[in-house]
């Protein structure tokens, strides 16, 4: 994950919005694009988005806060999502998540003190026949166990 971690300027936000203005219902594509380019969606950008789409700032806030994917703060250099849903639970995913959190010195999902890794919960990755499943940045992982996860976390600098 090497997305820039500084907030976009007003002009940069406007440029992203402009790319989507021709679309029907452009707000989600805009938010996804902003997050993809800048790593997060700063609240300072809400006013620009609201103005360009002719909606209120509160509406933008409402949408950003509704969806778990959108964040208003940068996350760690790597993101680990361990599946919590039933199929993965049936093969030990919860214990795996607990072990990962313990290793990272976290008592719940969040970012490690050194900023290397953010752990986020996820409910199903569509890898339910080969769990425990996880996503490390863009890489899907299946049949995951503690040994391999520990190695991957070490490689990620945690």
């Amino acid at each position: 994950m090497s997305a820039p971690r500084t907030a976009p300027t007003e002009a940069e936000v406007s440029a992203v919005v402009a790319r989507h203005l021709h679309r029907e219902g452009p707000l989600l594509p805009i938010l996804h694009d902003l997050q993809h380019e800048f790593g997060f969606i700063p609240e300072t950008g809400f006013q620009t988005i609201a103005h360009e789409l002719n909606i209120t700032r509160a509406e933008v806030y409402g949408v950003v806060s509704f969806y778990p994917d959108f964040r208003t703060e940068p996350h760690g250099r790597h993101v680990l999502k361990i599946c919590r849903a039933e199929a993965c639970q049936s093969v030990g995913a919860r214990a795996l998540e607990e072990a990962a959190l313990a290793r990272l010195g976290l008592d719940r999902p969040g970012t490690t003190a050194n900023g290397a890794v953010t752990v986020e919960p996820v409910y199903c990755l569509g890898l339910c026949a080969c769990g425990p499943a996880a996503l490390l940045d863009d890489k899907p992982l299946a049949h995951l166990d503690e040994t391999r996860l520990t190695r991957l976390l070490a490689e990620a600098g945690a």
């Binding site: 707000l27 509704f66 994917d69 959108f70 039933e86 409910y123 569509g126």
Partner: protein, 517 residues
Amino acid sequence: MSTHLNPPMKIYVPLDTAARALGADDVADAIRAAAKAAGLEIELIRNGSRGMIWLEPLVEVDRGDGRQAYGNVTPGQADALLNGTLESLGPVEKIPFFARQTRLTFARCGLIDPVSLADYEAHGGLAGLRRALALKPEEIVDEMKLSGLRGRGGAGFPTGIKWDTVRLAPAPQKYIVCNADEGDSGTFADRMIMEGDPFSLIEGMVIAGLATGATRGYIYVRSEYPDAIRILEQAIRIANQNRVLGSGILGSGHAFELEVRMGAGAYVCGEETSLLNSLEGKRGTVRAKPPLPALEGLFSKPTVVNNVISLASVPVIFERGAEHYASFGVGRSRGTVTLQIAGNVKHGGLFETAFGMTLGEAVNEIGGGTRSGRPVRAVQVGGPLGAYMPVSRFDTPLGYEEFDKAGGLVGHAGLVVFDETVDMLKMARFAMEFCAVESCGKCTPCRIGSTRGVETIDRIAAGEAEAIPLLTDLCETMKDGSLCALGGFTPFPVMSALTHFPEDFPGAAKPFKEAAE
């Protein structure tokens, strides 16, 4: 045996996310490198998955005598694979798990290069669309009604009737929306078809457009499926270039524009009205019905919302005829069900079969029992809102009415297997917790009740048997007072756990009477 022309050996390495998660990319790289080092000309194709996930990466090699399968291939086996010394599982379509299936919707998945339109056409693709183009909209709808296809997204509503409502609604703009939010644990059929045979979904949506007069479509894909999104976008570009999409479909006067939209991590956005709000750029809260989306859907226009598998089953219905499709199945469940066998199971994967197979057959004979080797204790069918079925209900045939009668639901046909180490109180607690996390917040029984549910189950766990009737009452309230099935069906997993596995709930010594209905 190789012919005297010596065409290059064809090697298929799945690009399916499950195969990738099990190392398929490294295997493909190793095969390319080994072939180069050996000066061997090969054609490497990234196909979809055949659905035998426990064998992934499942590599197929065609030396001119059919496709031979190699299971769980590692990069280190690349040389042996190329020089023929690696032990093969035999012809891929003779593997019992595969041979026992009736593949209609998934006929091409794993067989073809997912983004080759020529490959698609060579295997029956576009034949359905050509036939539909020669029919009047009402004839297309009649064919759908005759097929008996019911929505595969969960509710099982007859697809032909939904299309007819949209067809008859007068409006300057109508929409076809594909629900590819696939949030249910234990399900991956939508993902597999989008990655392995995206043109079948596109073709199905175009036919839906012809039937209803809709000229615009959206596929709403969950963000957890980046590969599916990328492959769909590629397939849509190719379809546009070849006039399968766009104006003048296959040279006709019909038009259909299609676009992929990405969700943003909310489970409730799989509920169709919440999905429509999300597409409109709003919070994904559920809308009250009526009005039906078929009459006032996306941007208040008449809209078909259908699941991926529902739509991807349309081409084969038109290719082979509705009667052929309807000739499979049991009772009012016609055609095939795309079972996703998941969780703690030995042979996990996608198994397409006529409705009517029993749950026990699917889990024990097809799935081979648990991966851990311990006895099966429970199977959750139909996702996080589906009931936990005990082994004593394994004789239930997979069919909508049949499951309903047994206190369960087929839903999107995910089967999640648990062995005897499962703590059913914990699973009931999880169901409430999941509901609390994912609630859209619109109704109190769902928003607040689910959190109360977690607390109540914690009290039961702590030995307060008096809390058990409270849990039962709470489930009743949620069932009666919720706008959508998130709050309304969460009682299914909770009550089925309590009813069938009372020994996991301190103080609930003897089985409760059926309450999870």
